[in-house]
Every structure is written in C-alpha cells, then in structure tokens.
C-alpha cells in the first residue's frame, strides 16, 4: 500500500507530467487562458488517461509482447487512444449529456495530447504491473489537472497586469510556466 502512495506522490508532484516531463504542453498553453476551460480539460484528461493507461497496458502485455509485435507499439497505441476517445465521446453524449456538455470540444482534442500517449509509454517503459500502471495513470492525470488549474489561475491575474509588448501572450505565459515549474522542482528529492 505504502508503495502505491509513494508512486502516486512521485507521479503527481515530482515527475509532474506537464512541468517536469514536458508532456502535453500544447493544451497547457492553449486551454489555460480561462479557468473554466482549464477545469474542463483537466477533467477530460483524468477520464481518458486512466482508461487509455489501462487499455494500452493490456494490449501491450497480452497482445503485442505475446506475439513479438513490439515494433507496432506506436501505431497500436495511437489507434487505441483515438478509438477510445471516440468511444468515450459517444458514450457520454448518450448517457451523461451534462458531463458531455461540460467537456465539450476538449474530448476530441485529447487524441493529440501527448500527455496521454506519453503516460502510456512511460507505464510500459518502467515495466509497471497492472495496478501500478493504474495508479500511475490516475496520478499523472491528477498532476496534469493540478498544474493546469494552478497555471490558469496565475494567467487570469496576468491579464490584469501591464506586460511589455514583446513579452505579451505566449511569451509571458512560458516564463510564468517556468516559475511554476521551479516550484514543482522543489519537490525533487522528496521521495
């Protein structure tokens, strides 16, 4: 049990997927202008990442490795993620319309979110067991949400500040992300 807690903490804080591993930076900058979109995106990522993590782990260990097809991993994973996203979208539209309306356009965008694909690949690379992969996927998603929502909060305040012209928009956002990353950097060596 303790091992899983340590794994979760290290995935959320120390190896934060956005700020330490640099995965999923496009939606990080793209959806962090408003708090609402940031929350929507985080929820969608939690949802899909857990399912994708489990799905790709099963496919990798029970199909690809069994038949010696590891070189097809990239294609197999992206297909799993793409079809999973499509499936989740259809399922939500039909059975939980309220959640579907909340997630809106963020669901299809997740297909090209490298946080999802990256987390799945890390699970395989670290040779996690099934339970570890599940915990790690969930924690990565929570870490993604944490960083994104914190960042959105900071960015909303930047709107009120007077920023020099060349630094405006993406440029200041990146510098801010750097400072946020520095705070997460402080967790290094904790576990």
């Amino acid at each position: 049990m303790g091992d899983y807690v340590i794994l979760a903490i290290s995935c959320i804080l120390i190896n934060n997927i956005l700020l330490a591993q640099f995965l999923g930076n496009c939606p990080f900058l793209g959806t962090s202008k408003k708090m609402e979109t940031a929350v929507g995106m985080s929820m969608a990522v939690v949802f899909v990442l857990v399912m994708a993590g489990v799905g790709t782990w099963l496919i990798n260990n029970y199909i690809l490795q069994k038949f010696g097809l590891e070189f097809l991993r990239t294609i197999a994973f992206i297909l799993v993620i793409a079809s999973l996203v499509q499936f989740v979208e259809m399922f939500l539209k039909k059975s939980i319309p309220a959640l579907y309306a909340g997630l809106g356009i963020f669901l299809p965008l997740i297909t090209t979110n490298c946080a999802v694909m990256g987390a799945c690949l890390i699970n395989i690379k670290e040779e996690y067991t099934f339970l570890q992969a599940l915990v790690a996927s969930f924690s990565y998603a929570i870490g993604f949400g944490l960083a994104l929502i914190l960042f959105a909060g900071v960015r909303e305040r930047i709107l009120l500040a007077r920023v020099p012209k060349p630094l405006q928009d993406t440029s200041i956002a990146l510098v801010t992300a750097g400072i946020l990353s520095l705070t997460f950097f402080a967790f290094k060596g904790m576990v």
């Binding site: 591993q21 640099f22 995965l23 496009c26 793409a82 690949l121 060349p166 440029s171 510098v175 750097g178």
Partner: protein, 201 residues
C-alpha cells in the same frame, strides 16, 4: 495562393517558423533541447516524418473521405514514426536512447498533424513536399538554437556527434538552471520575446 515553390519552402524558415510563429508541438521543443545534438536529432526525425506524411496525405487526398481524414492522417503519420524509430535504433542508437519516448511521441506532435490538415490535404504533391521540408528545417533550426543557448549557458559546452566542446572557460560557473526543466520554459519564453522584438521592427 500564388506562391512559388521556393516561397512555400522559405516561409517555414522565418514567416511561419515553428514553434515561434506557430506555437505548436512544444513538448519535444522543451524536453529534448538540453544539448544541441539532441535538438538537431529530434528536428531531423520530425522533418523526415513531416515530409513523408505531407507527401502521402497530398497523394491520397482525393481518396480520403473528409469525415475520417484525421484518423487517416494519424495512421499515415504513425507509419512514418515507426519507420524513424526503427531506422534510429539501427543507425543512431545512442541518440535514440537519449530522445527516449519523444520519438514515438512525434505521432502526437501537433505540427505534423497540423500541416497535414492545414496544407497537404488542400495542395498538390510538389507544394506539400516543399512545405513539409521548409517547416521541418525551420523546426530543426529552432531546436538547434534553443539547444545551443541552453547548453552554452547551462553547461558551458556545445555537443556535436557525442563530443562536448568546451566553449566557455571552465572557471565560469555554469548556470545549471538553464538545462533543468524550469530553464526550458523561461528560455523559450525569452526567445519568443526576442523574436517578437525583431519581427515587429
């Protein structure tokens, strides 16, 4: 749309240079630019995928139904990424190990998908090739520049073909912040600011 082939090629080098003008595909930009060598390796791999996928998307654009085009693009891109993965494993194994999961992650690099969607699907083969090559080389240059700045400030060296060359005098304490994660964000942000300054004149 009256651009010549040369213009299609050169626009990727300055006007639309990723990731500065097109803020896409940031993950590899931030993650692999610890050294110049990694940056260039990543850039070349991405260029290969970009040119290949642009060529095939453009070739097959009359046959791909527009409803399922994204899925088709992804399969074409994934094929080329697998090719790069296998080629790099065979010929540049140390680099392959250093770039790690960022090679398979070219699949989800928004620049590649973005060019398929925004350009290759609407234009002829020659134009798409020129576009892919231009954007790819622009991306490589940007990665190399960022890698050079970060490595020079962070370690005082420049690495080419696995041999770090000491540039700054060893008595100067290197600014290690630059090669760590936070430095990547700050450095890219400041470079973007510099581009804006130069571009707005």
């Amino acid at each position: 749309m009256a651009k010549t082939l040369v213009q299609e090629f050169t626009k990727g080098l300055w006007e639309e240079i990723p990731p500065f003008r097109l803020v896409l595909g940031l993950c590899p930009v931030l993650a692999v630019t610890k050294t110049v060598e990694n940056g260039i390796g990543m850039g070349v791999a991405t260029t290969f995928v970009l040119v290949g996928s642009n060529f095939f998307v453009s070739l097959l654009r009359k046959f791909i139904p527009s409803k399922v085009r994204i899925a088709c693009f992804i399969i074409i891109i994934a094929t080329f990424v697998t090719l790069v993965e296998l080629l790099m494993q065979a010929f540049t194994y140390p680099l392959f190990l250093k770039l790690g999961i960022f090679i398979p992650l070219i699949v989800v690099n928004c620049i590649v998908l973005g060019r398929s969607e925004a350009f290759a699907f609407k234009n002829g083969i020659a134009r798409s090739l020129a576009d892919g090559l231009g954007i790819g080389i622009g991306f490589t240059l940007a990665l190399a520049a960022l890698g050079a700045v970060r490595e020079l400030l962070g370690a005082g060296t420049l690495t080419f073909w696995e041999t770090p060359i000491q540039i700054l005098s060893p008595t100067i304490q290197p600014f290690t912040f630059m090669i760590e994660a936070p430095g990547a964000f700050v450095c890219l942000g400041l470079m973007l600011c510099l581009m804006n300054l130069v571009g707005s004149k």
